[in-house]
Symmetry: none
DNA sequence: TATGAATGAGGATTCATTCAT
DNA sequence: GATGAATGAATCCTCATTCAT
């Protein structure tokens, strides 16, 4: 089992038992064990495509190949389903990131670069990036999701990046910059790009030239990482990236 | 205060406001003229707050102080209402921007700075910024809106910024950079910030430190404008902002 | 003034006064006097085209070139407007028919033929025929109209035809047939044809061969009139047209 | 009584009816199978009574003893529901008629008489006859229904009758008459009668003597069938029924 | 467990009628 | 008289969720 698919998903005893078996389960059994994952996959796809409110529970079930009722067997409500999707796709990554920061040896610039690249590969360049779109658009209509997301994603992610920046500052590799603003500055353009690709960028509209993500990313990385540097030289000193 | 955006009214009999004016126009008449603006204001507020799909037509009417039916007297559908909101809040600004570019005398960096500051004052720092959120989140569910927005906003806005960048390059003030990507790079962080303020930033969540927009903007402007410069000096030369 | 346009139309003082004038009225005055007629014309057209319930009051007003409010100035409700339309288009004709029967000299077969031809020219072949469609379709939804129509049209029309048939029988020109059934048998095919022309016959549907009304009528007349004859000869006796 | 037309139920729990059956099929299942028929029955009743546009979907559901939502589970729109009603009540009959014509042995006059009597028993004298009223009155407002009805009813029905008439002519039993007009002449009075019974005839109006359908029909049949005959004898020959 | 039938609150839009000007 | 702005009841259809089987 991949670490990313770990998520215990409350209300899903199937997953739990799955751990105790290896191979021998009959097909039907295996299907049953795979259910939660299939549902999460279907849900991610649809949520990202249409948003949370506009996604019909039945459609999720259908795409996962089960009946409407079955969906509710695994997740007590659409909202809980969404939370599970978030946890699986973003939560696990943050955990990994924490690990990475803790064990990392080397220059903090490389650490940040690694974190950001990982994010891009595992989220930004993935359907999972669409979760940001959903949150952005719908938190205000679902206050409970707002708190959930703040607690489980925003705060931990911010912590993660701040800790990396702080590490750099502490080790004298980065200028002393405001942590939160810097973290934000690092991620904003990446997220924005991801966002774009899941909205207007995904629409078959005429007359809009598409963007080249890779190119933009390279530029951005180059820019901000350089901005972070403590430049002993420097004509116009610091303050840059805050 | 612009006269059109006045009335907060709510079921207020016409007579009430009529008294405040020296104008002798018949009350009914004045109301009629004010309606569209009142409706647009209410609609902007609600659309930004809840999104397009989640905003009920009746609620817009109510907030504008009229009945459901009246809304449909002025706008034939929720979709058209939304378009009107977009045109008023973004369309007009782009037109102004075109004018500004055409008449501008001076360094292109200042031109860009002016454009961006104007955008921030009139859109980014305004409810109107929420329109981006709506588009981002809902275009895929409303294909007609997608095309409308591409035609009336994205393309013109892109043109506008590209023309300013091109001006700088032509006049030797900017490095030769890819136009679209640069335009995007200029706006992305600003838009992202605006976006954020209308979503998670607007939620009463515990544990999230709010961002300081002004500070972020200053940094961003400083950063990108410097990145655009042709630095004849420069240890590490160009390529930076592309 | 044509006798058919006589209808006093309650609630229409304009018409009343109109009688007292000859020519001198200024344009505006004349318009005012023409209003009721213009409204009735517009109403007939639309009612016939779309039915009673599906016709919007505003559309009637528009087609008559006045505002919605004005319509209600002349007719207190859509229902009253409809009644006025019926009276003008069918009521007057029945009155004329009564007159015709009373004064007719000659064979009753010719009298019937004349009545039926007049009906066809003045109703069946006219938009007015559509009124039957409306009644047929909507009386059950508008009980008040049902009674109105029975009182002002059905009963008088039935009386009219029965009286003509009775005249024939009394004068020994027709066989002794049941009056009502005969009257019905006389009119049914004509009305059905008229009906058809205002519904499926008016639809731009592919694959339906249109009917030739004149031809059908001729046949029908020939048929039923012969059936009414007292045939002193006769192999297979009477009973035919009852 | 056909089992399908049974249930008048109204919110009746499944258990009630289940008790009456010896069948052991699970209650839910049986209900599911019965639903479409119950809905069609309710729909036919209401459509005939009030017309298509004036019938509320919810009312149909109610009369079938289910909720609004359930109706839409079986028929995706009111229009489709109507089509289903038409197909069941008229479409099937036409198919049967085709069969009858194909297999019939004997005089074509008898064939026609049989067709018409069947129509009267299964449609004309039934609620189903009201469908004609609906079509007559509302096709112009529902163009899609117009085409549907032309394709699935008018054309096939016309074909059916024309083929019977043609059979008679070919076999020398009927005079050579124009097919379409003859078919029309055959059916028109019957349909008109049926129409009448579903409109004015169904209204509790005072002063209107009701018609005796059976009597009218007998007369009509006698009339037209005789009119079709090739009478080698005949004083005034043909032309009669065209 | 799994199913899918059933529910009913919810929301966009229409239109007869009123009434201030 | 005339106008047309305003109203709000009415109706179609959707979809999250429940629950009998």
């Amino acid at each position: 089992m991949r670490p990313t698919s770990s998520a215990p998903l409350q209300g899903t005893p199937a997953a739990t038992r799955a751990a105790n078996r290896s191979e021998e389960a009959p097909t039907r059994q295996r299907r049953k064990e795979a259910r939660p994952q299939e549902l999460l996959d279907a849900a991610l796809e649809l949520f990202v495509e249409k948003g949370f409110a506009a996604t019909r529970a039945e459609e999720v079930a259908q795409r996962a190949g089960v009946s409407k009722g079955t969906l509710y067997l695994y997740y007590p409500s659409k909202e809980e389903l969404f939370k599970a999707v978030v946890r699986q796709n973003l939560g696990s990554l943050i955990a990994e990131g924490k690990e990475a920061v803790a064990q990392f040896q080397g220059h903090s610039g490389d650490l940040l670069a690694k974190l950001m690249q990982t994010w891009w590969e595992r989220v930004g360049n993935t359907r999972a990036a669409g979760i940001h779109k959903i949150i952005l658009a719908e938190v205000r209509n679902f206050p409970e999701l707002a708190q959930f997301y703040a607690d489980e994603i925003i705060v931990p992610a911010d912590d993660l990046f701040c800790s990396a920046v702080l590490r750099g500052i502490t080790r004298g590799e980065f200028r002393a910059l405001p942590l939160h603003e810097t973290a934000q500055a690092l991620m904003a353009p990446m997220i924005f790009l991801a966002l774009h690709q899941h909205s207007v960028g995904a629409c078959p509209v005429q007359g809009c030239t598409a963007l080249d993500p890779e190119r933009m990313l390279r530029t951005h990385l180059d820019l901000v990482l350089r901005g972070l540097e403590t430049r002993p030289t420097a004509g116009q000193p610091a303050e840059t990236a805050a």
